[in-house]
Point group: C2
Chain length 336, copies 2
Amino acid sequence: MKGTVTVKTLAKELNISIATVSKALNDSYEISLETKQKVWDLAKKLKYERNPSASNLRSHKTKTIAVIIPEIANNFFSLAINGIEEIARKRDYHVLIYQTHENSDTEIAFTDSLLSGRVDGILISVSSNTNNNEHFKELVKKIPVVFFDRVFEDIDAVKITTDDYESAYNATCHLIECGCKKIAYLFALNNLVTGKNRFAGYLKALEKYNMLYTDEMIVHYDKDTSKNYENIKAMVSNQKPDAVIASIEELALPCYYVARELNLNIPKDLKIISFSNLNTAPLLNPSLTTIEQPAFEIGKEAAGILFKILEKKYFEPNENHILKSRLIKRESTSCG
Amino acid sequence: MKGTVTVKTLAKELNISIATVSKALNDSYEISLETKQKVWDLAKKLKYERNPSASNLRSHKTKTIAVIIPEIANNFFSLAINGIEEIARKRDYHVLIYQTHENSDTEIAFTDSLLSGRVDGILISVSSNTNNNEHFKELVKKIPVVFFDRVFEDIDAVKITTDDYESAYNATCHLIECGCKKIAYLFALNNLVTGKNRFAGYLKALEKYNMLYTDEMIVHYDKDTSKNYENIKAMVSNQKPDAVIASIEELALPCYYVARELNLNIPKDLKIISFSNLNTAPLLNPSLTTIEQPAFEIGKEAAGILFKILEKKYFEPNENHILKSRLIKRESTSCG
DNA sequence: CTGTTAGCGCATTCAA
DNA sequence: TTGAATGCGCTAACAG
């Protein structure tokens, strides 16, 4: 690696010691401004770049965080990463990305590999197939972690989530107030707080209005996409709901197709409201009302708090930050 | 950092030398299977994780690549990252993400910072505002780089692109064969090969059919979103085209709104074809035909080639790999 | 096959 | 305010 400019190069050139150069580069109070300036100037001139590995090895600070998410090619997560990256950049931090594809073994492999000091902290949105949180309980003891969106209830770490309960409740109320008599529910993420809360909000609204409710009105998410279609079709055919709430977008789509195939007019015969995070909302079929999470803001919030923790400026380990989502009513769904 | 298990820990425990442990962990041929097994077993038992900084410092291999893209929250790029991450994972590589937000200064800052040995290689899709490629010419001399999607013509590096020329040509021919007489063009990415090729394909098709063409039928992309809307509106009002080709999706949307505002029926009065990469295609207004790039495959291809280069198994430095995109005709646009 | 030795580049004592 | 010395954890020569 000859030709590489290191602290040694700078020191030799300026006839000062390596230690002085190192301190000057780190803007230490021990060094005179004059010396610092000389070092900075030369560093710039020679395009010196601090070797991160050496620096990390010595200081145990990597200036890197990891983001573990189920999927990147998903509008919610890509927006969240956008927010995370933006905050990280401001602090000159680097961002590593890992996608689990909803596989909890992969998730465990990632977190294990991150224990070796590759990163200073981790942001995680857990895989929906992870039903064992023991692993995370160990993890949070060893390295700063902030959970976002997909979180576990009983883990001793900061969590950033959305108002799932309230938004599901509001959406359901909205439908009822529009005159809907039978509102079905497409259930997903059932082992995550998110999924549970959404369902609870839906139930609460039905309860408030004394609405009909049977288990037959619920369709549970299946990993096998074609089964979702079949299950929804069966439910809609048999139960004939006049509205549906989809707890994730992947269930809204087959529902939409089912309605088409059964010649149901949307939204006249069947209103669909879906939790969603498309940035293509304006292009969506206007009959689909969506509940949009503030993905970008969640990313920023999560990263912001992680950095506070890293800087030892955060003192409420267990706090749960809940951001508000928005009910986007598209023209032909507004019932007014 | 007491309690951290290092090669030293393992060596002491097994009463062998540090070097032997290190070699065993790296599965060196110099070490007997018996010794290796002992080391591996203990490593597993003690949950030893190699310190990446120390390893990098010594070996100059980071097992990390960087991806520099304009924007993450964009379906094309998020799909591409998906492909990249998938390939990287297979090789136990880590992936750093940087988004330039189309700012070429940011882009330069990123590439500079990556010269310090933080990564083994870089995948770049350049910012559309970068009109100076000198910087990249220097970069590719210092570190393996593969360009994808947004590339420069005259850089000595592998490039992965799509068949922009052909797909624009085909799309335009399709419109002409449908009976369109006046096809406008919404021009973007004009200082990138991608943008140039798309436009060239469009022109070629017009030429082939001896179609009308004037500069007034072209609208150029403006960073100011509201101006795009105004410009498209002016063009459509004055020129009254019966079809429009949008070279990027961000121009298809305002065009769609303009058509609406001018009470033009889509696709009867105005057909719109857009280069696009939404995974929500099925939900799109069915009047919008799209030309979809194989984003995921591009990511995989780019990463695959970068790894070949890193493994010294790639010998065609300048090669340009062109993947095929698909013209997706939605029901109400098919002119048959 | 195994061990000894010597750094990779940097940050941190401590002494001057 | 500066510098000499030490070692972070690991790998690579080289010798045994």
